[in-house]
């Protein structure tokens, strides 16, 4: 074969798109709205070539309930109680976000007991939420046992919440001017008992999943989201921190008692699934630290300063406040034209903004990587649709 022929052949081969050498064809698959690893009614339209993901198109709206519209027809007390239906795993943080903006708008006061209780229960719920995430994450990787471990330990905490708050999942507790009930007399003892059980189990979690070579293989270098991309795609919370951006509103703009407790913000370095996993595992330990500092230092006082029956009036204006839920920045915007009902309410939800990272990180990977990425973003679908 002379050089010219070889060059021509080479050129011809190069001209072929690499995928078509085998004569393969792209095809579309619907992942969801009923799919075990979308954890809710998220639908992803996948363009695949064999196992390789070429494009991910999220399709939303399967659980859109128009919460923002309903809020326009509610008064300032009622709208707080809709928020637990958004991110049901951070119901208390959602309550708090709405409460915070209403309190700011109506210039309502709180005392240190109220703030301590709010910080304590919200931090407990961060652990609660991460426990569920950990179990589900294991299941998405194909290991069933973590799911049961996570739920077993979460159940203890759910019981703790039930004694004080009454609810087990969609909890309504934090409201403008205070909290709905005082904490249960046994709460501190219950939480201490929980921590005594849970701290060694957290090490067990690490032994079961984190140290497993298959888990490491499946997560390291998969779904890399650079710091720049994470910020550009509006990601917040553990997803953003795993990409190496130490942004946590609990530190950046301390609310509640976060300014008075010592804790670290875990940060990843590569932004892959493993970093997102590791950041959440460390966050659980940091939350335990915060809870331990608060437990014995809940100040005495009233648990509400404004009577729950009192009407709340807000002068015209625009208010925005945000806080850090287990998944990222939850913002609440309130537009008032005066009176007892808001003119417009908008919630900036962490999941809506975190979701889009999947469109860039999952392309080029396998279907199994997509599942790992989705799970590492820790999405709660009702929070996306609102």
């Amino acid at each position: 074969m002379n050089a010219t022929v070889a060059t021509t052949l080479r050129a011809r081969l190069d001209a072929l798109p690499s995928q078509s050498l085998l004569g393969t064809q792209e095809y579309f698959v619907n992942m969801g709205p009923q799919h075990p690893s979308t954890h809710g009614v998220l639908r992803l339209v996948l363009k695949l070539d064999g196992e390789t993901v070429h494009q991910v198109i999220p399709v939303l709206g399967y659980i859109h309930r128009g919460i923002e519209k309903i809020c326009e027809h509610s008064n300032y007390r009622q709208l707080v109680h809709l928020t637990d239906r958004m991110d049901y795993l951070s119901a208390l943080a959602n309550n708090w976000a709405a409460t915070m903006v209403v309190e700011k708008a109506a210039a309502m006061e709180t005392n240190s007991r109220i703030e301590a209780i709010r910080t304590l229960v919200t931090e407990l719920q961060r652990i609660h939420s991460h426990q569920l995430w950990w179990g589900v994450f294991g299941m998405d990787l194909g290991a069933f046992t973590p799911f049961f471990y996570g739920f077993r330990d979460r159940e203890i905490l759910t019981d703790v919440f039930e004694r004080t708050i009454g609810g087990r999942l969609t909890m309504n507790y934090i409201q403008p001017g205070g909290v709905m009930h005082d904490i249960h007399p046994e709460l501190v003892a219950d939480v201490k008992a929980f921590l005594a059980v849970f701290k060694p189990r957290l090490d067990e979690y690490e032994a079961l999943l984190s140290e497993n070579v298959i888990v490491q293989e499946r997560l390291r270098g998969v779904g890399v989201l650079t710091a720049q991309d994470a910020v550009a795609l509006g990601a917040t919370g553990p997803v953003l921190r795993a990409s190496g951006v130490a942004h946590d509103l609990r530190k950046a703009e301390p609310y509640g008692l976060y300014g008075q407790v010592a804790f670290d913000v875990p940060v990843g370095s590569r932004g892959d699934c493993w970093d997102r996993y590791a950041v959440r595992m460390q966050e659980m330990r940091q939350s335990i630290r915060i809870v331990e500092q608060l437990l014995d230092n809940i100040p005495e006082g009233k648990h509400f300063l404004v009577k729950p029956a009192a009407k709340i009036k807000v002068k015209p204006g625009v208010w925005y406040s945000h806080l850090e839920t287990a998944r990222g920045v939850l913002g609440a915007m309130l537009v008032s034209t005066g009176g007892e009902a808001p003119y417009r309410v908008h919630f900036r939800t962490p999941n809506f903004n975190n979701l889009w990272a999947v469109t860039t990180t999952a392309t080029g990977g396998r279907v199994a990587d997509l599942v790992a990425i989705l799970s590492s973003l820790d999405l709660v679908i009702p929070d996306i649709d609102r």
């Binding site: 550009a232 940060v267 945000h322 903004n353």
Partner: protein
């Protein structure tokens, strides 16, 4: 605490100097006083240029479009677009209000500056009917493609809505 990969290259500005800075970049921008956080009102024509400057200008560096939504002022015939910006690099934040006409709501897309705007704008399009020029994929986000009307507008009504007892 590990160091942040994103360089902290700026100083957080207080509300006054922030607004002053923005008014220097865009003299048409006005302070909006009824907000709890630094907020400016920008005429639509100046907004795309200012957005680019807010993102790139060395002492502003608004890298995160925290949220984008709209307010329907049915009385004045305006839809007010709201952009909540945060600078993770500097630590300050800003809210920008832009008015578009309610009967012909057209605004420039900011996807090129903040990629997340693509989906936030789709949400506003879906619920308020604001059309974004140069948007790569302007479709309904939550509602069906054949849905009639824009539910977050104040005058929205459909057959399924119940009369509220007054």
């Amino acid at each position: 605490m590990a160091t942040s990969l994103l360089p902290v290259s700026g100083q957080a500005l207080d509300a006054q100097s922030l607004v002053a800075k923005i008014q220097k970049l865009c003299p048409a921008a006005q302070l909006r006083p009824d907000c709890d956080r630094p907020a400016v009102k920008v005429p639509l024509a100046h907004w795309p240029v200012l957005a680019q400057q807010l993102f790139a200008s060395a002492d502003l560096l608004f890298d995160l479009l925290e949220t984008h939504t709209a307010i329907d002022w049915v009385q004045t015939g305006q839809i007010e677009l709201v952009y909540v910006l945060t600078s993770l690099q500097c630590g300050h934040h800003l809210t920008v209000f832009v008015d578009v006409a309610r009967d012909n709501p057209v605004a420039p897309s900011l996807c090129a500056v903040w990629p997340i705007a693509q989906w936030q704008e789709r949400e506003v399009f879906d619920l308020f009917g604001v059309h974004y020029t140069d948007h790569p994929d302007l479709r309904r986000l939550f509602l069906d493609d054949d849905w009639q009307g824009f539910p977050l507008r104040k005058d929205y009504a459909d057959d399924f809505m119940l009369e509220r007892p007054s």
